[in-house]
Every structure is written in C-alpha cells, then in structure tokens.
C-alpha cells in the first residue's frame, strides 16, 4: 500500500535519512521503531508532504506522493496524528472531528450561501459521523466540551478520531503512547486494534518496544537514518544489530558497569 524507495533526506550536511526502503502491506499494523533521533518523525513528515525528500520516491497505492501538497495527500487517503499533540484546542471535540471531514464536504458556494438542502444534509451527516467517530474512541459523551479541557490521553484519542474523519486508507501514528501511563497505553492498544479491525491500515512510529511488539505484525528498525532490520516481532527482537542499537555493545556495557 505504501512503499518507500531508497528515500534520503539531508538537512544541510546532516544526513537524517539514508536510502530508507520499506513497504507497508495493506490491512495490517506496521511499526517503525528506533532510538530517539533515529529519524522516525522525519519519515512521517516526508510521507505527509510536510518535507520533500532529498532523493528517492514515496509511492501510495502505486502513485508518487513526492511534490504533492499536504492537503492533497490527506485527500488521497493518508492521515496522521502528531507526537506533540496538535488538536485544535479552542474548538469543541465535535468541531475538531468535523474539521477533519473538510475535503469530504463538497457543497459549493451557492449551497453554502443559500443554505440549500444539500448543504443542510451534508452538515447533518458530518455531525452524525463525527459523533460516531468519537464513540469509536469513547469520547462521545464529551462531544461538546472544549478540546483544551481534555486530559493528555483523551487528546491523543481525539487526534485519532480527527484523523479517521478524513476517511484515510492509511493511518500514520507518530508515537501514539508518548507520555502516557501504562493504563492509558493498554487502553490505546485496544483502541488501535479496534480501528485496524475496521479495515484501516496502520503505520506507527514508536520507541516503546513492548507496545510495538504487542501490536505490529511487521516491524522495521531505524537507527542513525538507516534501516537496520525488518521482519516479524520475533525476528527483530533477536536481531543482533537491533539489540546493539537499543542496549549498546558489550564493551560499552562493561564500561558502564
């Protein structure tokens, strides 16, 4: 569904990503893991069009995403959440989710200014759908609250509902459990499984190993801008390079001890 072909991204002389290639198959949960600073968020920023790659190509269902504006990529079926939560804090939960449906509300200026039946129907359908999406993440009872009043974990779930409102085929989650306690993590894990079982493909970035191992069927490991391992959870867990990246080499361990 999503394919990165030897993608590189340099910031000046800094090579943040070098020759990154992997393919996300449709239907599953794919995890990209790696230590802090490995370049994980840059990967998501490249896919969603916030940054152009220095070289390489990114294909979504066979079509290149490189050079497309972010809103076109979203309209094409790719949605994301952010590591540092970016909900619209002064809006209600319902409004947040309806903003996500922007590109799907295709009434024209005439319908809007004359409040034609098509406009009313589209707005009503959007509100109903938004409540349904909020119920998926169990926030429907707070639909009319201001987003800023939500707890951290709830704001993450709101972001999830908002991303789903864009009707994506592929959902990118940028460190979905960052800053959460373990109860919130377990809850979100269930939420993500639920969403996947509704037919969405999920691509997540994470460095919480346990979380990723428990959720993902496919995992790629990024370290210093390069993919160092790919495969199923067990294969990755036992890969010597991965162990080295996460735990350090033996001689360093001895020095530390």
């Amino acid at each position: 569904m999503l394919e990165l072909q030897s993608v590189s991204r340099h910031f000046g002389g800094l090579k943040v990503l070098q020759d990154v290639s992997f393919a996300v198959p449709a239907g599953g949960i794919f995890g990209l893991i790696g230590p802090n600073g490995a370049g994980k968020t840059t990967v998501v920023n490249l896919i969603t069009g916030l940054l152009p790659p220095t070289s390489g190509d990114i294909l979504f269902n066979g079509a290149s995403l490189v050079g497309r504006k972010p809103h076109r990529i979203t309209a094409g079926g790719v949605a994301r959440t952010f590591q540092n939560i970016r909900v619209f804090k002064e809006m209600t939960l319902l409004e947040n989710v309806i903003v996500g449906m922007h590109a799907r509300l295709d009434y024209g200026p005439a319908g809007l200014l004359l409040r034609l039946p098509g406009f009313r129907a589209a707005e009503r359908a959007a509100r109903d759908r938004a409540r349904e999406l909020l119920s998926w993440v169990r926030l429907d009872h707070k639909a009319d609250d201001i987003a800023d009043n939500l707890s951290y974990g709830e704001q993450r779930k709101l972001e999830l509902a908002r991303a789903l409102a864009t009707e994506p085929k592929l959902l990118l989650l940028d460190e979905p459990v960052a800053g959460m306690n373990s109860a919130e993590k377990t809850e979100l894990m269930a939420e993500i499984r639920n969403i996947q079982s509704r037919g969405y493909t999920i691509f997540m970035i994470e460095h919480d190993m346990r979380f990723v191992m428990g959720l993902c069927e496919h995992i790629a490991v990024l370290n210093f801008g390069r993919i160092i391992a790919q495969g199923g959870p067990d294969q990755v867990r036992n890969d010597p390079q991965v162990i080295e990246a996460y735990l350090g080499r033996d001689d360093e361990a001895e020095v530390a001890a």
């Binding site: 979203t74 970016r86 809006m91 903003v99 996500g100 922007h102 590109a103 200014l113 409102a165």
Partner: protein, 284 residues
C-alpha cells in the same frame, strides 16, 4: 420628528461613519480570523474609494455599478499581491502589507492625471444614502455569518489555531488564506467607496498607516470571537472622540492606550461569548 431631523442634520455623517467603520473592522476581522495579521486594509479602502469616485465622476456610471467597481478593484489587487505575501507569517506579513500600503499611497500621489495627486479628488457627488450603508453592513454580516457556520469558517479557525494541522486535515491552507484576504479587500473597498461618496473629498493621506492602525485597533478592541466584536469595537472607537471632544487631539494616544490595556487585561477583546457565559454561570 423635528428633533430627529435636527439630530440627523448634525450627526448623519457620524452615524454613517459608524457603518463604514464597522465594515472596515469586519474586513480586517476576516484575515485575523484566519490567523493572518495583514495590514493592507487601509490601502484596499483607498483603492475602493478612488476607483468608485473616478467611476462616478469620469465614467459617469450609476452608483451601484461604482460600488461594485470599488469592491472589484481591491479584490483584483489582493489576488495579485496575495500570492507572494500570504506565504509570510506573523510580523513579516504585517510588514509586507504595510509596505504595500505605502506603495499605494505613493502611487496615488504620482498619478496626478487620474487621481489629482496629493491634492486628492474634489467634488465627489454625495450619493451615499443611509440605507446604502445599512444594506451593505447587513449583507456583509449575513454573508460572514453564513460562512462562519460552514466548512469555510471551520477552515479559517483551524488555520488560525494550527496551520500545519489544518493542512493535514485536507484544508487547502493557501487557498483559504487567499479567500479571506480577497473578501477582506472587497469589504474594505466597499467601505471606501461608500465613504468617498459621503465626504465630497478624498486624498491619499487618508488611507495611510494611521488609518490602518485605527482599523486594527477597532477589531482588537472588540475581539474576533464573533461578528459583534469588530462592530462593537468600531462603534466605540468612532464615538469616543465625539464623546471626549476635549481629548480629540490626543485621539491616537488614546487609541494606543486602549490597545495596550485591552491586550493586557482582555486579550480576547470586549466581545467574548465564552467569558460572558463564564460570568453568567458564576452568578447563577
């Protein structure tokens, strides 16, 4: 009735200025509600005023057509300058649009053959009747209210709160910024055209930096949490110098002081439904 007639004879100009200033405040509200601090509204007002005045005086067109011209001309200019300037943000956008205002002023001064240069345009027919202003204001409010409660209003708000996130929600950020900018230019142009046919005379210095700051002050004072904000700000700042005639010379000092106080104590402006609800809620 007689009392009203004598009141109207003295104050009609002031009452109609309330209307045109409200239009100006709404024009900058549009760009502010989309998260842009664009300071070109005084210049757009000037372009509208000159276009409409020259249309009625030189081309002899009917008043409604002149008003339409006074809205179309700044809209076209906004489309042209919006491309390069709207990609700027914050203070840089304010600086670029202020510079544009200065360009317009100097352009008017140096095209004497059309605009009368620094001497301005004299003898504009006083065609603006009270109901022109009232109708213009009502229509503007109606359109803005309809936009607010639709995907356009939500897109503006989303862009104001977080531009990057808005883009990733499928909103064409550049297109909506341009829409806000062009609609704002049309409203400012309408205000300029109405004002020109009210005051008999227009000159290039009426549409400079001072006017731009005055328009911004009205809207910041009122707040941008609804259409009532800019309008109440415009009404207050138009009436204040009349109420405090002794202070009239210090008007700009006063405006500045008000702006500072508002930013310090009521950063969301006078008209803030959320705060009003909070106050009412606490009392009950």
């Amino acid at each position: 009735m007689e009392a009203f007639e004598s009141f109207w004879a003295v104050y009609s100009n002031l009452v109609l200025t309330l209307g045109t200033n409200s239009l100006l405040a709404l024009s900058i509200y549009l760009t502010l509600s989309c998260g842009m601090l664009a300071m070109a509204n005084a210049a757009f007002m000037g372009i509208g005023a000159y276009s409409a005045a020259l249309l009625t005086m030189n081309a002899g067109v009917s008043f409604p057509l002149a008003l339409a011209g006074g809205m179309a001309a700044p809209a076209v200019v906004a489309l042209l300058i919006g491309g390069p300037t709207l990609r700027l943000s914050g203070v840089y956008l304010a600086m670029a649009t202020l510079a544009f205002g200065e360009v317009v002023r100097i352009f008017i001064i140096n095209t004497e053959a059309w605009t009368g240069g620094a001497l301005g345009v004299n003898g504009i027919p006083p065609l603006t009747a009270w109901w022109h202003v009232a109708l213009g204001l009502v229509l503007a409010c109606l359109v803005l209210a309809l936009l607010r409660r639709s995907k356009v209003g939500r897109a503006f708000e989303a862009i104001k709160l977080d531009e990057t996130a808005a883009g990733l929600m499928g909103i064409d950020v550049n297109a909506y910024k341009m829409l806000a900018f062009v609609l704002g230019a049309m409203l400012a142009g309408l205000a300029g055209a109405l004002n020109a046919h009210l005051t008999f005379f227009i000159g290039p210095n009426e549409y400079g930096f001072d006017r731009g700051v005055e328009i911004l002050t009205m809207t910041i004072l009122g707040g941008i949490n609804g259409l009532m904000g800019p309008i109440s700000g415009a009404v207050i700042l138009t009436l204040l110098p009349e109420l405090l005639r002794g202070l009239a010379d210090f008007r700009n000092v006063f405006n500045g002081l008000i702006l500072v106080l508002i930013v310090l104590f009521l950063p969301r402006g006078l008209w803030d439904p959320a705060r009003l609800r909070g106050w009412l809620g606490r009392r009950s």
